[in-house]
Symmetry: C2
Subunit: 741 residues, 2 copies
């Protein structure tokens, strides 16, 4: 690949981006697409629809200005702590890659270009390799510049990371103190309640906690497993609601579909749903007995405590001499509970964890296939040899460049669209009892998956195709850095086009919200439905964080080898900054929070990237026979690892545990204000699972229930979560969770 | 190596063992060696010295009978839980290797011997390889026997492991409930107390715990750092005591040395020591102020709680929003405290941990040198080539056999004698605040070290000498099992001689207590001193557990490859059973306990050994082209890992945490009995560091202090711990720790 091919690729991408951005700025002003582009603001009712005017059809950059002007406090209020953490990732990347770009473009790039290994051509046809470390001679006395760049990047990354970690820790603590009525602080989940023939689970729980934690135990609430009939009934109810909405519309405006079944304002369904509720009311009476219905009660319960501190300390305790009984953990927030996983017997969890781990690894390995195919595409001449019928098209220059420069990344992106739903499914099966825990677990899996498949396997399958003997040459572990050092510059063009296509284009797609737009358009213009179940989604952290981190990883590892990639990355992060802020403000809602738990993952990944960068640099200095630079790099590796260890000691415990000091102070504050009774009353209602157990919170409960057990929204669409919003907010606002304004 | 060489080696070892056992049975009856062989019983005063009679000079097996007859309850009473765990390791090994021996000798060995790869010679000159898997043809239809043996060994090992873990967990719980007055249950160590210019550390602690844990906080006690002067004074005091003992003796009986200095019954020293105490009394007065002496107070303290449960829950809590402040952990038992590590600032700990880890790894790698030399020795012909002057002696058959069959192991053993003290030193620097924690850490390090150096490096350096090309042949990870499978049988003779020499002979040495015997003899017969500071040692678990586990590891990995090794191992474990029981009963005392913490380590190592065995078997089946056997082995690996995961879930938490249920019941029992006041009074005295802080417990305190800070006994002698005994026991008995009878 030469410079001109790079420009072709960059040109295509810039054009695509510009078109999509303009299109977005027009589409967002159309009232018909307001549900797609202003989902969050619609859900809280602050979006007024503009009247028809010319302005609606002129592209504008107002959204960029708005995204720029929004402060961090606003983001915190709108999207919660996780959004802020997400924005901080982008800001951190912007800062560190600005420094890296300046350092590498002005110090490293000239040294690479002045090297004499590869002959220079006319600048436009200059091979990309001329700008990489491949062009520097062995034993060059200019390699100290690479070592200096390494020092600058590592030290500024560490300084930035330290301050980010510090400020996010502070935010997390403020997040805890800022939600004084959060019911999850008072609540534990206890699982694996031992079964006894004499007493019911509920009695067991009461007796156990009254015996050992009498002073702090308040009350408890069993978890019920909804049976098949209940599921069917909920399904019917849901269908009824949807059809009712539709039928109301039908009565006003004749459309394509007219459902005679729900003619009379859906009254028949109303009767049905009332009936079903009364049936459930009866079944709850039976539940209180010890008869057949005992099967429905799970060996899990929510335990409410009188103080936050009591809940936290009880969660850490080993309750029984059989550690597989009476297992406690802090409860997730009410709308974060993943009910169907609460039904899983605790004894199954360890097997599930092992099985899902194996499944994730197996999936990673199977995925090698498309990656290998993609790698074949970047080597046009090799492709010609294996598939001779492609020889004709490939000889045409433009198609050749397109095929080698652009298509491989597109194939990868398409293949990657299958990853998030599969990983999310695996994470669901893993057994996390909170939706945020599931998302975090999926985030981990997708991150490992992405780095493994995009980076490691591309580097190595690339070199296998290039030179089959590479494994036999460097077969020991010692040879690995050298192998990486020679393989990465050779793959420079792949990484560049990956940043261009996957990076830039995926941001434009994110902005355009292609899939919801398509669905919305089909509904509007083909089925002619109006406000068909507003599917506002929560932010897909589990796909977007790994993507940002992957680009960071590519940036660090390529920085001194292929400095030309850095400006493209910088553009990527700048675009990301505006687009994601815009999306947080307008599109996504916050249904549940991880409380900043993503940051330790980000921190570790950046440290890993830095260490990889240094190890690869060691390989480079080894290959280029520069022992002095190698000698200076080794202390850097040790320093980076020590820095990570320090941060793990200094900040990480706050993310794992609640701070006793703060909780005790909050408890005392409650007592002083006389809020305790109020809190106790709300606790039970907050964790209501279904109407049958507590009629007073039926609306909220049934919605949670449905969301999780029947229509699992995160499995419906890759990486996005549609879901009902409004009812959840009533509880959230009661308990002081950040409410979008 | 052929069978005759094996017999030579075995013969030498059997002879050495028999001679040493006979010698032991005579020496133990001599009154002059009673301090060496009956240290424990002397220390509790139950050993009466026999009068002179002929019986004293006749070898007998009475000690074996006694060791056999002692029940597990006796062992528990004598040596505490750790001794029982140690004996259970031996019993487990005996059981599993009985099963393995029967299986492999009757099923696998005939199959190996009937193979036709290596030509048969006369039975006496039969090469050892004939009995290994090397003799089985490729694609042999008899390989199912090896697979069957694998199944029998794995399943019986898992069943035995499960029941052992279960019973040891039960014992550990009984150990907790059985010591109702244990002060460590009520006590926390708090470190990293923040320094403030307004108030002293002691006030900070009191204010902090009174503020946040008012209901459960009882009192606290600061940790003081003894200065140089104090150290010198303690040294002087100690010398004085020793010389006084000596001088008393001198006055009764004229000897070689007469120290005029301590003539008048050491009165001058008595005065000096009284003086020193009065000086310290004054300094304690100054300590209470805030003047210069503040430097001596460390940022660490013991916090006493009113109940056990309060102490346990407070230990888990994250106290401050800066996790590097107010760090709490449960206190070790009073005589288990490693005072000088309490002085280390908490902020240093993470660096120390990293540094000691690096140091341990570096030591492991440096140690490769002697191992490579040893490996060279087992290849006589290669040795001849490199060191031509050895050619003459090597051609003499007996010397050749000795050199190749016996010497390598002796060299290894000698080199290994340097390992325990070095690892102990590294573990001390690591910063564990309990002596048992330090020992456990050293045990881990020595275990990794032993397995790495003896097994892995022997196998691979052996094959490197044999065939330099092996690494290039099997260079991927996939090839590793095959490589192991071919390397281990080739090293059969090394492992056999290692079991014979290192195993059997080291047991005999352990029984003979060569080093203390030598010291004692020199004192008695050359310096003519009597009862010169009885140096009773605590059991060197950190050297003996890794040794047992290493032999278990060798046994498992060699079982189906080299079944001939199993009978030798069985003899080893039988001898170990009698000898270690004898030593526990007679020689070693229990100064502190790990509370069965060694068992999880043992369990994990056995699981690791089993998995290694299976992976090596996979390699064998691959080499021998038996896909069916391979297919049957893979589920076995998965089953073993799942079993381990289950045990980790089911039993391990009990070893990490105290069970709340039990502690609360104990607290209530105390209240019922009205013991609480009594316990509170004893708490402060139990953790007294030096006489200057609490005069009423000066004796006990000063002894602990000396033991740790000045004469660190575990560094004095490789793997053994001399120390003063009697004063410690007074506290132990007060607090109900198992006291030897």
């Amino acid at each position: 690949m030469d410079l001109s091919a790079l420009w072709t690729s960059a040109g295509i991408n810039i054009a695509v981006c510009l078109i999509l951005f303009s299109l977005y700025s027009i589409l967002r002003k159309q009232p018909s697409h307001v549900t797609v582009y202003f989902g969050r603001r619609l859900s809280i009712g602050t979006r007024k629809i503009n009247s028809l005017c010319l302005d609606r059809f002129v592209p504008s950059a107002s959204w960029i200005v708005k995204a720029w002007k929004t402060t961090e406090e606003d983001i915190l209020a709108i999207g919660g702590l996780d959004s802020v953490v997400f924005v901080r990732i982008i800001i951190f990347s912007l800062r560190i890659f600005s420094i890296a770009t300046v350092t590498c473009v002005f110090i490293v790039l000239p040294v690479n270009y002045q090297g004499k290994v590869i002959g220079h051509k006319e600048i436009a046809y200059e091979s990309l390799e001329v700008f990489t470390i491949l062009n520097v001679q062995e034993g060059s006395k200019w390699l100290w510049t690479h070592c200096l760049a390494l020092y600058i990047i590592t030290s500024s990354a560490c300084i930035l990371l330290y301050f980010e970690y510090k400020s996010i820790t502070k935010m997390r603590l403020a997040h805890v103190t800022g939600s004084p009525l959060n019911p999850s602080h008072f609540t534990l989940v206890v699982r694996a309640i031992p079964w006894s023939p004499e007493e019911s689970y509920s009695d067991s729980v009461r007796n156990f906690f009254m015996k050992y934690h009498e002073s702090s135990y308040l009350s408890h609430q069993m978890v019920y497993r909804s049976g098949k009939v209940q599921k069917l009934m909920s399904n019917a109810e849901k269908m009824c609601r949807i059809l009712k909405d539709a039928s109301i519309e039908q009565n006003h405006k004749p459309g394509l579909f007219h459902c005679g079944f729900c003619g009379a304002h859906g009254d028949s369904f109303k009767i049905l749903s009332h009936e079903s509720e009364s049936v459930r009311g009866k079944s709850s009476l039976i539940d209180n007995g010890l008869g057949e219905s005992k099967k429905k009660v799970c060996a899990a319960a929510f335990i409410f405590f009188k103080t936050r501190y009591a809940a936290v300390i009880t969660s850490h305790v080993l309750h029984s001499s059989n550690p597989m009984l009476w297992v406690t953990q802090l409860a997730p927030e009410p709308h974060d509970v993943y009910w169907s996983n609460l039904w899983i017997p605790y004894g199954q969890l360890w097997i599930r964890k092992m099985a899902t781990l194996l499944a994730a690894i197996a999936f990673m390995l199977v995925f090698l296939l498309p990656v290998t195919v993609v790698q074949g595409m970047t080597h046009a001449n090799k492709l010609q040899q294996t598939l001779p019928f492609l020889k004709g098209p490939l000889e045409k220059k433009f198609i050749g460049q397109l095929l080698t420069g652009y298509l491989p990344s597109v194939v990868l992106i398409v293949a990657f669209y299958t990853v998030p739903p599969i990983m999310m499914l695996i994470s669901s099966l893993e057994g996390s009892i909170s939706r945020s825990g599931r998302k975090k677990s999926a985030c981990f899996k997708i991150l490992y998956f992405t780095i493994w498949n995009v980076f490691v396997m591309n580097v190595f399958t690339g070199t296998i195709i290039d030179q089959f003997s590479v494994f036999t040459k460097f077969d020991s572990v010692k040879g690995l850095p050298a192998q990486l050092a020679s393989a990465i510059p050779a793959q420079a063009k792949f990484f560049m086009t990956y940043v261009l296509s996957s990076g830039w284009a995926s941001l434009a797609c994110e902005l355009m919200q292609l899939y919801p737009l398509l669905c919305n358009s089909i509904r509007k213009y083909i089925f002619r439905m109006k406000d068909w179940a507003i599917s506002t989604m929560s932010f897909p952290y589990h796909t977007e964080i790994p993507r940002l981190l992957l680009f960071g990883f590519i940036g660090f590892t390529c920085s001194i080898l292929v400095p030309l990639i850095l400006p493209f990355l910088l553009v990527y992060f700048t675009l990301a900054y505006f687009i994601y802020r815009n999306q947080i403000i307008n599109v996504y809602i916050t249904k549940y929070e991880c409380g900043g738990h993503f940051w330790p993952l980000v921190h570790n990944t950046v440290i890993f990237s830095l260490v990889m960068m240094q190890i690869i640099a060691l390989g480079v200095f080894g290959l280029k026979k520069s022992p002095i630079s190698s000698g200076f790099t080794i202390p850097l590796v040790i320093f980076t690892i020590l820095f990570n260890q320090y941060c793990r000691q200094r900040f990480h415990p706050v993310f794992k545990n609640h701070v006793a000091e703060i909780l005790i102070d909050m408890d005392r504050e409650d007592e002083k204000c006389g809020r305790t009774e109020e809190i106790y009353q709300q606790l039970h209602a907050a964790y209501c699972q279904s109407p049958s157990t507590s009629p007073d919170s039926s609306t909220a409960g049934s919605h949670h229930h449905e969301e999780d057990s029947i229509q699992d929204p995160e499995n419906v669409m890759p990486g996005k979560e549609p879901g009902q919003v409004s009812p959840s907010w009533s509880i959230a606002s009661t308990f002081g969770a950040p409410v979008p304004k």
